[in-house]
Amino acid sequence: MAVIAGRPARGALLPPRLRAITGTRSGALAIFIIRRILWMIPILFFVILITFSLMHLAPGSPWDKNGGRQLSDTVVHNLNVRYGLDKPVPQQFLLYVWNVTHFDFGLSYQYQGKTVSDLLLESWPYTATIGVLAFLLIIPVGVGLGVLAALRQNTRVDYITMGFATIAASFPNFVIGALMVVVLSVLAYKATGGNFYLPAAGFAVDDSLIMPVVTLALLPIAYTARLTRASTLETIRQDYVRTAWAKGLPERLVVIRHVLKNSLIPVVTTLGPTFAFLVTGSVIVETVFAIPGIGRAFVTAIESRDYPMILGTTVLFSLVVAVANLIVDVLYVFIDPRVRLT
């Protein structure tokens, strides 16, 4: 959706029939979506290429142990043969890409006999649950706080809300997570003799979701609130809103009909990066709260040099992020008709 100056209109270079399609807005949208989906292929290819190279540059092999007696050279050799690591690296790369096009992500090195797809399916529900819950918190809480602060600009409500947002936006999530564990888990347990506290980790009880979700959602909430406040302030100053206000329409109606709709546009644009943040942010949150999700699996895979698992997680992450960005871009087209589809 880049604003590009000095370029021929896209339709000009297309054959007449296609130009007819691109002439209509829905046709243009279809072409835009197809183009973006096609773009995913080279992006994925490069993500795999870069990850593959980095992986093989990283010192240590999957068969090195974290202490104690190491495998003999002959066992290492047999393992390399077993997993095809004895082949030249470019050949391994091409083989991997070929397999990926057949949706075969290979066998994990760490977990015997398990495919990467199995492992991703095992971890994904954890990450998805936390991510989706956090995502559901962000829009109502973030937008609500932002609008509230804007409508009550320069009052105590505004200062408190924005003070909270600034703190939440600047404290890193592992710090917030650690502080929450200290207060809500450790100290609460000690103070109440174990009657009230939040579990510091684990996924078995519903309580245990509260801290990870809040930790993950805080930063995007704060960011959304700040953004919404700024855009709402701008909208309020617009003439038509002032007119609506002057006409004596109830405040709630004005807010919903005029202010919210317009001030949501910048928020929608951030949903893509926000979604990416929720997925990738899981690395830290899952570590702090010992949740066996994708983020944790990714760190473990790097630590154990489980090459197929590293690649599998990366591909999954890039797909999720790319699709999220695409959806947001399409949404944006619907919300703001002025957007050019290039």
Partner: protein
């Protein structure tokens, strides 16, 4: 997969003023009126004083040596055994380590920006100026960047080149220049659409010089703000690197390492997490206040 940033504040739309006469004096005045920004600046100034002053305090004997182990008194609570804020798993003074930790954090924050600046500036300029294919490439590259396993990247860079300060700073900078590049690109694009550029183009003079001439003074504001917001980000990343085991080498005290090491003793000695965590939090808060203040002061829209 990108390491999640502490502050994802990214400025991509920043109105380019037609002229900037009086901008700087104006900005300074506005910044001075912003009490939070002044408080943030004061805290940062205090940190700088601490960073330079703490070795002196140790030298004259007021502050305990942050490296001195006292294994008979490990994991002391605040005030116990003569430790103001307690001691760590090797019986070292937490307060002293906290003060010394500011040195690494400030160095990381500021030096990383010094590396990011030339990279982001060059790539953003190129993308914005040439536009078209190169620009498109940068945007797609950003897509790759979102999904890019930079944990792995940092691990490889540090493992291959050794965990020295320079490699750690470099690795952090290399995974962080995209924001600045995108900002500069946006600035160049909007300048290109200005009437005076059109006029120059129609009169036959090369727009390159004009763009450069207008870009730098106009974009200085947003660039400064982006870099200010980048400082807490880099401080945060240093902490994450410590957690990955590729951070600054011990026994040098860093806040990130103190948090992650303290986390192992969170039940026995919760304060070993709380103090360094608060130190990181407030430092980042201070930089955010200053960044906010700078943005409000420098953003031409605020001058209305």
């Amino acid at each position: 997969m990108a390491i999640p940033a502490a502050a994802v504040e990214q400025i991509t739309d920043w109105e380019v003023p037609e002229q900037q006469i009086g901008l700087w004096t104006d900005a300074l005045q506005r910044f001075r009126r912003n009490r939070l920004a002044i408080a943030g600046a004061a805290l940062i100034a205090l940190l700088v004083v601490i960073a330079f002053g703490s070795p002196l305090l140790v030298h004259i004997g007021i502050l305990p040596d942050p490296l001195k182990q006292n294994v008979d008194f490990i994991e002391s609570g605040p005030g116990q055994n003569g430790f103001l804020l307690g001691s760590d798993e090797l019986g070292r003074d937490t307060f002293s380590r906290l003060l010394f930790g500011s040195r690494v954090s400030l160095a990381v924050g500021i030096l990383v920006q010094a590396i990011i600046l030339p990279i982001g500036l060059t790539i953003g300029l190129a993308a914005g100026y040439f536009g078209g294919r190169i620009d498109n490439l940068l945007m797609r590259f950003t897509d790759i960047w979102y999904a890019f396993p930079d944990l792995l990247f940092v691990l490889v860079v540090v493992s291959v080149f050794g965990p020295s300060l320079i490699t750690i700073f470099g690795a952090i900078a290399l995974v962080n220049w995209v924001g600045l590049a995108r900002l500069v690109r946006g600035q160049v694009l909007s300048i290109k659409e200005k009437e005076f550029i059109e006029a120059a183009r129609s009169s036959g003079s090369a727009p390159v010089k004009l763009i450069l001439k207008h870009l730098l003074p106009n974009s200085l504001g947003p660039i400064i703000v982006t870099l200010t917001f980048g400082i807490p980000n880099a401080i945060f990343l240093e902490a994450v690197l410590s957690f990955l085991g590729v951070g600054i080498q011990p026994p040098t005290p860093t806040w990130g390492q103190m948090v992650f090491d303290g986390y192992e003793a969170i039940y026995a000695n919760p304060t070993s997490v709380v103090f360094p965590a608060l130190a990181i939090g407030f430092t980042l808060l201070a930089f955010t206040f200053v960044g906010d203040g700078l943005r409000d002061a420098l953003d031409p829209r605020m001058r209305r």
